[in-house]
């Protein structure tokens, strides 16, 4: 056996009950502030002012726990969760980099946590300065002219960009005719979903067999006077940079369309490529990927939309401005696409991203992309030595940028073991399962590890050794892989509720109804 030894790892396995199964009637984990007697005397039974039919009869069936029980329960659940801080974390397409503790500590200051969004701007100059400066820095990083920090995540930013494209054509009186957004199948799925939600018809281009991205001719035959724009990711989640990008932009501009490039994978091009310089009209960054804000168990994320000058009038309101003395919100934008959510964006994340940039500095950002790409190609070299692993488009793109999408098709054909099994088995070694691929699976049996700049070389070596071992197991003892995981918090899950309305239960109350039992 290779060096991918079992280390004796076993995940914490508490068999923790659902919170509703814990506690005891009459317990309480929080004491509500008192009401002064004078208030009670003056107001009386206030609840009886609510008409009978709108007055709650039965209290909600929430659990009843004391504070120590609540704490223990959620600490146990946290122990059964695998964060970036827990171990080797190479979930691809997400730039799972380490989030500096300094930034978290700053974002938990009452000086940002305890301010209300509608306070007079004179009383919130600090946070506004941070937002304003951060917008400027993103302009410098992207070659764009103006930014909005309002979107709550990447797909929201792409929705915002689709709506800006819509507003642009509407103002030009061309929206009725221009109702098509072109995307590429290897772009993140939100480049299809978000424009469709904004009312566009979506045309999808497929990659050329040799290059891994669409042929110029394919785009030429897709564009027409119906083209509203091109919305795609570059660099791709395959780690390939679509070097036709300049040509695509020209082609789309020639027919009067706009181009929005999803910069979710910007980590590997920081300080090396500015998509605005290449000619894109719009772009977006994910602060929870490139700019190190923690992923929070799936959010809150945060994203930023960047546009060229001609499109800035369409940005969501308000935009943070500075008049030389004072920072303020500019709502006076008659062509704006309006509000995209409550208030102004995910401010704690904006602060964390600001802190990250100022810590890294210009030199640190350049080194970020350098080290991330070295890490990835080092890992790539090691993984290609694993039996059963291949790299599609490997001939035309032997080196990749921030990540690489591999295939286990050969392993599957030779052993019956595919990526789903490998992902179950890898957990037994104290690693997290790997990103496979967004849909559709253009590459069969895909996996996409991404080792950002914060990953030590030792982690890369360990990952490669573990995959060697699992591959060997697949060839010699496939049963152990098929029946995995063996060392996780739980055994194999019954997935039937995923698609069976009689079995699915998204709440405890639904589960009790459907199983007709009180608790098991």
């Amino acid at each position: 056996m290779r060096d991918g030894e079992m280390t004796g790892y076993h995940a914490v396995a508490w068999k923790e009950p659902i919170v509703h199964q814990l506690g005891r009637r009459g317990r309480r984990g929080y004491r509500v502030p008192m009401v002064e007697e004078e208030i009670k005397a003056a107001i009386g039974d206030v609840v009886s002012r609510i008409p009978e039919k709108m007055r709650r009869k039965e209290p909600p069936r929430l659990p009843e726990l004391s504070e120590p029980e609540v704490v223990r329960h959620y600490i146990r659940l946290s122990q059964q969760t695998y964060g970036v801080d827990s171990g080797i974390h190479i979930h691809g397409t997400c730039s799972m980099k380490y989030s500096p503790k300094l930034n978290e500590s700053l974002a938990r200051s009452p000086k940002i946590a305890d301010i209300h969004p509608l306070q007079e701007v004179e009383t919130v100059q600090g946070i506004l300065e941070i937002m304003y400066e951060f917008q400027k820095w993103l302009c410098e990083l992207s070659g764009m002219d103006e930014f909005s920090l309002q979107p709550r995540g990447g797909a929201h930013a792409v929705f915002g960009n689709a709506r800006i494209i819509r507003a642009y054509h509407k103002l030009n009186g061309e929206l009725e005719e221009r109702n098509e957004i072109i995307t590429t199948v290897l772009s993140h799925p939100c480049n299809g979903g978000s424009p469709a939600a904004a009312g566009f018809k979506v045309v999808t281009l497929y990659p050329d067999e040799e290059t891994g991205y669409p042929d110029i001719e394919a785009l030429k035959s897709a564009v027409s006077k119906r083209t509203a724009g091109l919305m795609m990711t570059d660099p791709y989640d395959t780690g390939v940079f679509d070097s036709n990008i300049e040509e695509y932009i020209k082609i789309v501009h020639e027919v009067g369309g706009l181009v929005a490039i999803d910069q979710a994978n910007a980590n590997c091009i920081l300080s090396r490529l500015r998509i605005g310089d290449v000619g894109a009209d719009l772009c977006h960054f994910n602060l929870h990927k490139t700019f190190s804000t923690p992923h929070g168990s799936t959010g809150p994320g945060s994203a930023a939309i960047g546009v060229k000058k001609g499109l800035s009038k369409f940005l969501p309101v308000p935009v943070v401005e500075f008049d030389g003395e004072k920072y303020y919100f500019d709502y006076d934008r008659p062509h704006s696409i309006g509000k995209v959510g409550g208030f102004y964006g995910v401010t704690p994340n904006i602060l964390k991203a600001y802190a990250w940039i100022i810590t890294m500095g210009a030199e640190g950002l350049e080194e970020t992309s350098e080290v991330a790409v070295i890490n990835n190609n080092y890992l790539l070299k090691k993984l290609l030595e694993v039996r059963g692993v291949s790299l599609p488009w490997g001939k035309s793109h032997p080196f990749r940028l921030q990540e690489a999408r591999f295939s286990l098709q050969k392993l599957k054909e030779e052993t019956g073991i595919g990526i789903a099994d490998v992902n179950h088995r890898i957990v037994d070694f104290g690693l997290q399962d790997m990103e496979t691929s967004h849909e559709p699976w253009i590459i069969p049996e895909p996996f996409t590890p991404e080792p950002p700049e914060t990953t030590p070389k030792e982690d890369l070596d360990r990952l490669a050794e573990v995959l060697h071992r699992i591959s060997e197991e697949a060839y010699t003892n496939p049963e152990i892989v098929k029946t995995a995981p063996h060392n996780a918090s739980i055994s194999k899950i019954d997935r039937a509720p995923s698609s069976d309305p009689k079995k699915w239960a998204m709440t405890w109350r639904a589960y009790l109804k459907k199983t007709k039992g009180e608790e098991k």
């Binding site: 206030v46 000086k111 940002i112 301010i115 939600a197 992923h295 640190g364 790539l380 070299k381 849909e439």
Partner: protein, 459 residues
């Protein structure tokens, strides 16, 4: 420049060794896919790297220019409400496993799935609905999702919303429905604020996909005729959507019990600090009907069992329905959500329990009604505009004082008080009006101080 503390492999020797193992002479070879003519070859005009101490000094210096709501006495709400955050909430959402996890499968992230299932469950308890989705951005965005769901379920293209809807919500709903469905406003009764049944009946039709109400309304009063409105919607084959502030459900009938098909709302009051409006948490619930569930754009966690007795497992429901799998065919988007806040809300609701949330809602009502009473004693001030029970927010009208809200608020600020939100432009029909918010954090002394300062401010 010393080695960067966040990059283990940034030591020059290490880089050299790794490049050698890769088999290239220099790092530039790895970027060969990017054509030279589009490469950026200058130094970014950004600051130089800094140490942790310098960054802390710098940022704390900037942040010191913010005045917090504990340094002044604030009566602002309007979609971001001041509540006490139990220490346990901050403790749990600082747990680095929850803070730094993302998208692992159940076998590595069991605890995250369970906590989020518990969030779904407790929101279900509050609103009395069986299906609750993965958390989302904010009330505005889930309200937009709810209206799109109604369009998909009914194949109809008109949404009726109350004139008193929160303006941000209206803007986001319009954005979500642009080019898909028409939004029509239903008037409210000028006396009690309640949705006008007459106007609703004149506008509802076989084209109506959904009737939406907010309870409590944006202007703070409680909409008391939920059942009646739901029956009107049902009689026309339209869905009934209710938007809620969740703490009010300690005392208000849950929408699931007065006919709601879809419920949406804002979870920020459930243990999140205000964060300048940057810690919002949308929740979305619906009846357990397959075609409703199929129309939800977001992830859905179901509880399930495993091979071993005594273990709970979790699994995503109908994953093929979302944008992740269906791409443009989903006609919706989802993605990185607000899970850390949802876990916090689960912690908050477990702490309060059934009795705690009822008591809290009652305390809030007592205090807000006391504030209304005290402010109404000031000459020329009319509070509230509507003769209905209110929850935590209420309107204060200054027409009789000759002052504008902005003038009053400037005067209050001199007393260290932040007055209510100026809604004169949002609701011109209400005159010079502010929206005040009083919660459990306000003491009697705070309310007296407000009343005294207002008295001075309007003179």
């Amino acid at each position: 420049m010393p080695v960067n503390p966040y990059m283990p492999n940034s030591d020059p020797e290490m880089k050299k060794q790794m490049l050698k193992e890769i088999g290239v002479k220099g790092v530039e070879e790895l970027f060969a896919d990017i054509p030279e003519r589009i490469r950026f070859r200058k130094r970014l005009e950004l600051p130089s790297p800094k140490s942790e101490y310098e960054v802390r000094r710098h940022i704390e210096g900037i942040l010191s220019r913010n005045k917090t709501c504990s340094e002044v006495l604030s009566f602002l709400g309007a979609g971001c409400w001041p509540h006490h955050v139990p220490s346990v909430c901050d403790d749990i959402n600082s747990r680095s496993e929850f803070l730094t996890a993302y998208a692992g499968d159940v076998y590595s992230d069991l605890g995250r799935y369970q906590a989020l299932f518990e969030f779904q469950s407790m929101i279900g308890d509050l609103v009395a609905m069986d299906v609750v989705s993965f958390p989302w951005y904010d009330w505005q965005n889930v309200c937009g999702d709810a209206t799109r769901m109604a369009v998909m379920v009914t194949d109809r293209y008109e949404i009726l919303v109350p004139r008193t809807i929160g303006p941000d919500r209206l803007s986001v709903v319009r954005a979500h429905c642009e080019g898909l469905a028409d939004i029509k406003l239903i008037n409210n009764d000028p006396e009690d604020g309640q949705l006008s049944i007459e106007d609703l009946e004149s506008k509802v039709s076989s084209k109506t996909a959904a009737v939406y109400i907010e309870n409590p309304s944006y202007l703070g009063f409680i909409e008391t005729r939920g059942k009646e409105i739901s029956e009107i919607a049902r009689n026309h084959g339209a869905l009934f959507i209710v938007g809620v502030e969740p703490l009010s459900l300690g005392v208000l009938t849950p929408p699931g019990e007065y006919g709601a098909d879809i419920v949406c709302g804002e979870g920020q009051p459930l243990g999140m600090h205000m964060y300048f409006g940057g810690a919002l948490l949308g929740f979305l619930a619906c009846r357990d009907v397959e075609r409703y569930v199929s129309a939800i754009p977001h992830r859905l966690i179901s509880i399930t069992t495993t091979e071993r007795k005594g273990e709970w497992g979790f699994t995503y429901v109908l994953p093929e329905r979302t944008m992740f799998a269906a791409r443009e065919k989903a006609r919706s988007f989802t993605g990185t959500a607000t899970a850390l806040w949802a876990i916090t809300a689960a912690v908050y609701l477990s702490l309060l329990g059934p009795q705690g949330i009822r008591e809290l809602a009652e305390v809030i009502m007592q205090k807000s009604h006391y504030a209304m009473k005290r402010i109404s004693e000031i000459g020329g001030v009319r509070v509230p505009a509507f003769n209905s029970p209110h929850f935590e927010e209420f309107t204060v009208n200054f027409d009789g004082t000759g002052k504008t809200v902005s003038e009053v608020n400037k005067a209050l600020l001199k007393h260290g008080i932040i007055g209510g939100k100026d809604i004169t432009k949002e609701f011109p029909e209400l005159g010079k009006t502010a929206l005040y918010c009083v919660t459990e954090i306000h003491t009697r002394a705070d309310i007296e101080k407000l009343a005294g300062s207002l008295q001075e401010a309007v003179q």
